[in-house]
Symmetry: C2
Subunit: 333 residues, 2 copies
């Protein structure tokens, strides 16, 4: 019942041309007479021919693959970046090949090596935190490289994202301008999440420049989540009930904080301002839309792909694309 898969040879035979001609029709490369093309296309359709990518890759020592390294799938932020990547890729014949690193540079390194085994045209990864071996592999393979989310360091090739330090700083200035004075911070595991750390630093700097400090901070030892945000705010407030504004490491945490206030009967904004980061949908649907910073995740993924595909060679100078951020005023601060 199972006929063998048709190959280029079959198509060529049926269309009465050489294999090479079929190959050229498929790849749209080199001059082809219209009549020939039609015959070939017909043959392809008749046989239901699908090119064998492995063979193509091998012969051309290159592929239509883009390796994508994401730190996690549980944080909705990364699937959103992925959506941007898919959106930009839809118009092309490239396909992403995705690895999940769990925020671990060593894991990143090993996954990278198995991605490189497929001779991808480009690699998309996250942040600047790579092992030396990772950098070496990336250099030795001629692939283009995009580092996403962050632009606070020198990229290997392309960086697309925003300055988290700046974003944190902007939050600080914003809250100070709004008259808040007694600041707290609720965070999560930032050994893993370096960008959260950078925002924190920016925030602290903004406060320092105005002669202020964080009155207290409480970090949850684990990944960010709504539940972590709720519980961690509770702990912080028990210690420091007099705070008038709490900045969270991200929206997940902040939404949790909001729920805590709801249950504890704390008037959000009047008695306690809440501020997040990311601009997730969930925050904007709360009874009081969350005050936060919008990072453009979809855009980051999309632009990264577009820039990568502009040229197969790395340019002489590194490219840094700042996708920016917007303060979302919201109603919680």
């Amino acid at each position: 019942m199972q006929y063998e898969m048709p190959t280029l040879t079959h198509v060529a035979r049926l269309a009465g041309v050489s294999e090479n001609t079929v190959s050229r029709v498929i790849r749209n490369k080199g001059p082809i007479a219209d009549a020939t093309r039609d015959r070939v296309v017909l043959a392809i359709e008749k046989l239901g021919y699908v090119p064998n990518r492995a063979a193509g890759s091998l012969a051309s020592s290159g592929s239509l693959l883009i390796g994508v390294l994401l730190p996690s799938l549980s944080n909705i932020v990364y699937p959103e970046v992925l959506q941007g990547i898919y959106a930009a890729l839809a118009a092309t014949s490239y396909q992403p090949m995705i690895g999940v690193t769990d925020y671990d540079p060593v894991k990143e390194q090993s996954i990278l090596s198995s991605l490189l085994a497929w001779q991808p045209a480009a690699i998309i990864t996250t942040g600047f935190d790579h092992t030396d071996a990772t950098r070496r592999m990336l250099d030795n393979s001629r692939v283009r490289v995009a580092e996403l989310m962050d632009i606070d360091a020198e990229p290997i090739d392309i960086a697309v994202g925003l300055s988290h330090h700046q974003a944190g700083y902007a939050v600080g200035r914003h809250l100070i301008a709004r008259g808040y004075r007694r600041f707290g911070y609720v965070g999560h595991d930032w050994i893993a999440d370096r960008r959260a750390r950078m925002r924190y630093d920016g925030l602290v700097q903004a406060l320092a420049e105005t002669g202020m400090t964080l009155e207290g901070e409480q970090c949850f030892d684990g990944p960010s989540s709504t539940m972590a945000g709720r519980d961690t705010l509770a702990i912080l407030l028990e210690r420091l009930p007099g705070l008038d504004a709490v900045v969270f490491s991200n929206d997940d945490m902040a939404v949790g904080g909001f729920f805590h206030c709801l249950v504890a009967g704390i008037a959000v904004r009047e008695r306690l301002a809440l501020f997040g980061f990311n601009g997730l949908d969930i925050g904007q649907v709360l009874p009081l839309p969350l005050s936060t910073v919008r990072s453009n995740r979809f855009l980051i993924g999309k632009i990264a792909v577009e820039k990568l595909l502009e040229s197969p060679e790395r340019a002489l100078d590194k490219l840094v694309v700042d996708t920016g951020y917007d303060i979302v005023e919201g109603a919680t601060a």
Copy 2:
């Protein structure tokens, strides 16, 4: 600066053995003397050799890839399935190759064909709604196939999931037992989401068996989201303020409904019961934990991979794994 990538030949030369021997060491296949293995491993490490998968694939007409077809990435449910897939794959040397179909069988078909071009060992897809061409391709390629999420139809090879009809039915029985009598339904676009439709049918059946009907239903014309849930519930209640229980097509919608109640001052459960589906974290962190049905997404992905890898050949009989569901009592119904 860029030395060419080392190949089997280089490793073989350095280790003083034939290429084939190196290949066997790498794949752990056939008898190898310990001394030889050591020399080869050393050479591999020295050269930083990474096997070229394209070549391997071509030569063996097979690959360590698993094609994964997901309907969407915006619904957190699918990244969660993916996590299960990655978890099960972590222990193996297989890699997933992911395509996003946007709930469109035609798109599924075209993505499938480009996945098959890589000669994957297996295909994981969602639901039973495929085009004829898709089924044919799946049959002609000898790959194993898992259809996830749903078990309400005859699978091609393996199905892993739960009966959505049953789950909907169970929700109906549960709510009736709790004394609710005036039911509404808030849904989303179910041309795309067939499983939501099946739950709806189950619910309606449970009501019918007790001589009841839905007093009203309101569907949002688009994908599910918290915002859609909030706004759609508002519309429904305007029309039918006397309802005492509303079932939502899923948790996203239900959480939105909860927020509507919060703003509109409707006492959840006392005046209006809310019921979701999925058991998402966000629902369980609400001031009142959402009453819902837990579907085991992570497990579904994980089991699918495990079953697929048990054997490279399809078994004679179809395999159906029911991952079940749990009614989560919550506090909103």
